[in-house]
Every structure is written in C-alpha cells, then in structure tokens.
Symmetry: C2
Subunit: 156 residues, 2 copies
Amino acid sequence: MSNDTAPTYRIGEAAARTALSRDTLRYYERMGLLPRQPRTSGGFRVYDEATLERLLFITRAQAVGFSLEDIRQLVSFDGQGLERCGRVRHLIATKLAELDERLSELRAFRRSLVGSLRACDAVLAGDGDPECPVVDPEKPLGPRAPRERALKRDRA
Amino acid sequence: MSNDTAPTYRIGEAAARTALSRDTLRYYERMGLLPRQPRTSGGFRVYDEATLERLLFITRAQAVGFSLEDIRQLVSFDGQGLERCGRVRHLIATKLAELDERLSELRAFRRSLVGSLRACDAVLAGDGDPECPVVDPEKPLGPRAPRERALKRDRA
DNA sequence: GTGCATCATGGAGTCAACTCCAGGGTCAAG
DNA sequence: CTTGACCCTGGAGTTGACTCCATGATGCAC
C-alpha cells in the first residue's frame, strides 16, 4: 500500500495557496466562516484540501458581492441530515435570486458603459461637439475588482 | 412663452428622489463625486435633474462593485475637449474589461449555486446519503445586494 | 415677526473586513 | 542546543463608506 495520506498545510502554506493572508485565515476562523481548525501538538493550525476548497468558495462568494455574514450563514449549517439540507436549500434559492438581480444590474451597467465608449469614439472621430458625453447627462462608469488581497506578510 | 424652467430640488427632495440620504449627498460632494453644488442665496444646495442622473449613475456603479474612488476618477474629468475625452475613453475601456471579468465570475458562481441546489434536491428526494453537499467539500454560496441604503432621516 | 421644518458646517462615531503588533511558543537544521 | 523561520493569542489600529450630532442659519406660513 502506498503511503499517500492527504496532504495538509500549516497556515503559511494555506495562505499562499488561497492568496489570502494568514491574518485573514485566522480572522475567518474567529468569525465562524471556518470551524476551529485542528492543531498540531504544538498548537499550529492544520489545513486540508477540503478547507482550502472552502476558502476558495468563500473568496468567490465575496467577489460576487456577499458579506461574510451571508457566507457564514450558508457554511455554518453544520448540523446534519435532511432538515438542515432543507434550510440550506432555501438559503441557496434566496441567494440565487439575489444573484440574478445582480447579474441583470451588471448587464445594464455594461450596456451603458459600451454606449459611452461609442459616444467617446464618435467625439474623438470628430462627429459633433467635442463634449465628452460621459461626464455630463448620461455617463456610465466602470467596474472594479472586489478587493486587493495581496498576501502581505504576517510580521515576517 | 410658457414658463417651464427646469425643476430643481433642495437636498431633502434630491435625497428622496435618489433613495440616498441627505448626509450621503453631502458626503459625495465632499468626496468630489459631485462638484460643489450651486446654492440659494441662503446657502442651501440646489440639485437639478442632470445631477440626479449622475447620482443614479453613481449608485448603479456602486451596486456592481466599484469603489467611490473608482467612480470619482471617472466623473471628475470635468475638464473639456478631446484630450479629456481620450482619457475618459481609456478609463471606461479599462472598467469595461474589469466588468466582463466580474460578469464571468458571477456566472461561474451562479453555476455552482445551481449545482448545489440540485444536489440539495437530490438529497431531499431521498437519493443517496442525507448529507447536504453544500456544507462539505463542494459547497456553493449565494450573492447579496451591495448595500442596504435605506434613507434614514438626517436628524428629522 | 414668530414657528417650525429644512438646511449648513465641522467633527465625531459606526461598521465591516481586515491588518498590525507585542510578547511569547514550536520546530527543523546545523 | 542554539538559531531562524514560522506559528500562537489578544487586542489595537486602519480603511471605506457612510451616519450622527451640536450649533446655528433659512424660509415660508400664518
């Protein structure tokens, strides 16, 4: 039998693999987004692959606009059985509806951005007045990444 | 000649019409998201329709994930002429690219949510183990509205 | 010309989500 | 068995985006 036990990581590795900071991992644990992680005899947190998955899930959820509290509610249903599953289903359905609303907002905003881009091009091509149409009556705006999570070292 | 001058509003009306608070309007002005508004002789801010449009634009931009700083950059190019338009175009193009990335994140997340919903349904229908698949290895999450901006009165 | 709602300003407070820090263990290498 | 990298906890600090407050002026109705 090959000795392929599932790999585990300490907080530094886990942080590197999830592109979060060590402090953020500890913070998530305090906030209940992760259960208290198992520790080594010396007290070091140990992360397994499933937990890293969970962290990536959290990151994606955040990136699309959920608060940590929202996320906590979803992942903290750590009871067992069908009754829990029913509640989770309900939560997910709710979140899905919210997501769809956000999606259509995003699309509407995208349309207005494209419109502005074209208006800009028209102005730059010399058609009409040299008034950039973005900053005046009908101006669209651009999106932005949810957060700069740059893994700054934790008191190296 | 009919006396149809464009309507203007004081801050309370403007706040009501944009579903923002008075304080938020003042805050946006301080932060440079709006130019300093014209005042009545008594010093009261006056808002016109174009400004309300701008506020709605800001709200939409925020709802899809932009920071006020992002938005400020876009709306503060209040110079004139083609050179400004070129810069604005560049900014918009950048934001558009970011937006598309966010859109695909959202769609990916949506897929994972739908998958979880189906997994929940399967469990609830009695197929397989009664282990809700959401909270374990492969759990998706739901989205959330950007912010609850409920127009609390400004020291009514 | 007196009320009363509405407004102004400057500054302090709040909340979420981190981020940093001090003081002190753990552990693998040499 | 010392050293340097890494980790622990508890708590304070930071940033963005508001929100609230005290004090005082406006403005329209009666």
